[in-house]
């Protein structure tokens, strides 16, 4: 049985340097040791840290994983993403609740268990999944939930649960230069030292590496501008807050290719999303190993003055923190709300100092470029979108997982690879991305095509068997798929609410307007009051229904329709990992 102890507040505060900027980390530790963050703890923290209580309360109440009331010894949070729904998450949740005799969002009468939903936890390839006290349990089915229910009723501590419950395969289906080639820790650093930092920046420039987080900003430009900016300190932040529903590429990179990422990120902080807590110990041990080898810390590789270290900060359940300025706010211990830009982080970021924020994958790419040079990198892909891209594929397909593909491949090629040749519609780059019908499957994964150079991760192949006698899942009905991306987040609900009431008619915002209004990639901080984004000559992306309506009319298509199978029934991993050369050259 897990007992939550009275927590040692002064100890926790001291561990984080008595620095209010580490508030999120302090609150995480309090939550972990007490099970809750009680109101009087906020007062004690205010005294210990010398900041007003209201400021601590603002942070504590912002994050989903912090709560003032007890969630019992076992807090179970089901991942609530559309893929989980398609895989039967609601029924499984009801099943578990029934087994445990409780209602969702209500602490069980004996104070033992609490069951609720949480946003996508980055396991769409192993849906449905859940977090038990922050630890991910993937590929749920009745058997696994029976086991979980038994363990809970026996009050077994989480540490004694069978490890197989927590096993998370990488599911890398197609490898490329990023994931397939061996990497010797230190190789990129040595190459950088040998070449000099100016020459390395020039290589990055030649490689034309663009940010892999979504906006596609040129990495060399960002790094050069941050390097030039004046400040007492320069920070490098690795954005591992992979929150876009349906994405899990960073989880895999960090799990299996952490050295590659750390080598790119030379100094600074990693913001690891709270949902990936199970990666924390592993990452810490990689960091420790690198320190031992002289690849991190003071005088790296024996070079005097080359001092860098990396600290890991955990998030606490807030999708918005994936936006770079919100992430910086969160690193500073505040609610993760986007800042106004300009100034951009390269001039005024973490602690108001010049800061580079890049995605996990970008750092891995940068390390490869440092190792092999820019030309080798740019040889793959298209002129505007160089290199390869990790695509997270999930949903109604035979082989969900990670596919490393050269930029420029078509959606159709990926669908063939993942076993969804007869897909009706694909949601590209998560709910805030683009839904395309089969007529557009020849479109290419590249910054210049799909989708406007925004997020490229997350192809959700789905709704394949719509006509096979199966009901369209309610969440796939168009009105549920309305996302208003960058309107201040609290307005989002207003728009969605209205979408429900008004049926298919948008929100009254005119959506035939030109492009200028949504010119902000991942622009949480900027305003993009646009429920429907229209692409010249392309589909009106909000209209999933149209995509789905179109498909069954095609004669050739119908032949491919089979009765809908449950995702859980599909044969697992029956294809060995392959290399991406299969696409020939694009």
């Amino acid at each position: 049985m897990i007992e939550h102890n009275v927590c040692d507040l002064p100890g926790i505060v001291a561990r984080w340097g008595k620095d209010p900027a580490n508030m999120v980390q302090i609150l995480r530790d309090v939550q972990e040791s007490c099970g809750t963050i009680p109101s009087d703890t906020l007062d004690q923290l205010a005294r210990l840290l010398g900041v007003p209580r209201v400021r601590i309360e603002a942070t504590a109440s912002f994050y989903h994983f912090f709560h003032a009331e007890s969630h019992g010894a076992y807090e179970i949070l089901f991942s609530d993403n559309i893929i989980d729904h398609m895989a039967g998450k609601e029924a499984l949740k009801a099943y578990l609740c029934e087994r445990l005799w409780l209602e969702p969002r209500k602490l069980s009468e004996d104070g033992l268990v609490y069951v609720d939903d949480t946003a996508d936890i980055g396991l769409a390839d192993q849906a449905p999944s859940m977090l038990v006290n922050g630890h991910a349990v993937p590929s749920l089915d009745h058997t696994r939930l029976d086991l979980v229910a038994e363990l809970i009723r026996a009050r077994k501590p989480l540490a004694d649960w069978p490890p197989m419950l927590f096993e998370i395969p990488d599911n890398i289906r197609l490898v490329g230069p990023l994931t397939g080639d061996p990497f010797a820790p230190g190789a990129a650093l040595q190459a950088t030292l040998a070449r000099g930092s100016d020459a390395t920046l020039a290589e990055l420039d030649a490689a034309n590496l663009r940010g892999r987080g979504g906006a596609g900003f040129k990495t060399a430009t960002k790094w050069a501008s941050c390097r030039k900016a004046e400040g007492d300190a320069h920070y490098v932040v690795c954005n591992a807050d992979e929150g876009e529903p349906g994405t899990f590429k960073d989880r895999v990179l960090l799990n299996s290719h952490a050295d590659l990422v750390f080598e790119g990120a030379k100094q600074g902080l990693i913001y690891l999303r709270g949902e990936y807590k199970n990666l924390l110990e592993k990452l810490k041990s990689v960091l420790a190993r690198r320190r031992e080898k002289g690849l991190l810390g003071n005088s790296i590789l024996g070079e005097a003055g080359f001092d860098f270290d990396i600290e890991i900060h955990l998030g606490a359940g807030a999708y918005i923190c994936g936006e770079e300025s919100a992430l910086i706010e969160s690193l500073e211990g505040k609610p993760g709300k986007p800042r106004n830009r300009p100034p951009f982080p390269d001039r005024c970021g973490y602690r108001n100092q010049p800061t580079v924020v890049n995605n996990v994958e970008t750092f891995a790419c940068a390390a490869r470029i440092a190792e092999h040079g820019g030309a080798a990198f740019a040889a793959l892909g298209t002129p505007q979108s160089t290199g390869s891209k990790l695509i997270s594929v999930s949903g109604d397909c035979e082989r969900p997982g990670i596919y490393e593909v050269p930029f420029g491949v078509t959606v159709q090629q990926i669908l063939i690879e993942c076993g969804a040749e007869d897909a009706h519609a694909v949601q590209v780059s998560g709910p805030s991305g683009t839904c395309i019908s089969y007529r557009e499957f020849d479109r290419r994964i590249a910054f210049e095509d799909l989708p406007h150079g925004r997020r490229l991760h997350g192809v959700l192949a789905r709704a394949r068997h719509v006509r096979g006698g199966a009901q369209l899942h309610p969440l796939l009905r168009p009105r549920e798929l309305r996302f208003l991306h960058a309107v201040p987040r609290r307005h989002l609900a207003a728009a969605q609410h209205h979408g429900q009431a008004g049926g298919g008619q948008g929100f009254g915002l005119r959506h035939e307007r030109d492009e200028e209004h949504h010119a902000h990639p991942a622009g949480h901080g900027a305003l993009r009051p646009r429920p429907h984004r229209r692409q010249p000559g392309g589909a009106d992306h909000g209209e999933v229904s149209r995509c789905l309506r179109e498909a069954p009319e095609e004669a050739g298509f119908r032949a491919g329709l089979r009765p809908r199978r449950r995702l859980a029934d599909r044969a697992p991993h029956h294809r060995p990992r392959r290399r991406m050369g299969a696409f020939g050259h694009v």
Binding site: V54, A318, A495
Partner: protein, 211 residues
Amino acid sequence: MFIPHLCHHPEFKPHGSCKLYLVNIGGRLGAACTNRAADGMKVESETEALNADRRALTQMLFVEGNHICPSCEKSGNCQLQAVAYHLGMMTPHFTHFYPARDVDASHPDVLLERNRCILCELCVRASRDVDGKNVFGIGGRGIKSRLIVNSPSGRLADTNMSVTDRAAEVCPTGAILRKRHGFTVPIGKRLYDHHDIAEVPVAGMKEPRRD
């Protein structure tokens, strides 16, 4: 010229949260209150497209709170109401949320009416930067965001708020009101009953601007 806004006040650091001040700066949308003007910069504000967006945002502000103008003490002096008139908002358009929000009447001199709060953080800034008290803050996330106060009980009476604080008078809506001053000026004879907000953009300005 007038750029509609609700969270901006010339005395305080720009905050950039109401998004009504959105302008087109050289082809990109930007906040008029946080972007510095520069030589050669081309800025558009009074376009039909921008005003339509501003109107929609104002409508969203109305439906996500409980703004019942006819019974509100601030009616006629309220900037939210005045901006809505200025932008020609005729209906709320969106479905009302009718959220359950707390009223805090615990303080002897100040009433906190969270139903009317638009989370502009002017009171937060005034209390922190001018009064040096940190009485207010914003708690929660997304649609659950709410105005919180600096006391373990969560009651305004248990903070060191005083009616003479700057924070007590900056609210653009009727969320923070001084007690015992209700309806001293009758509705119909108030500031925005006679002037468009473009003429008197800052609450508390005595004379309408002439330009």
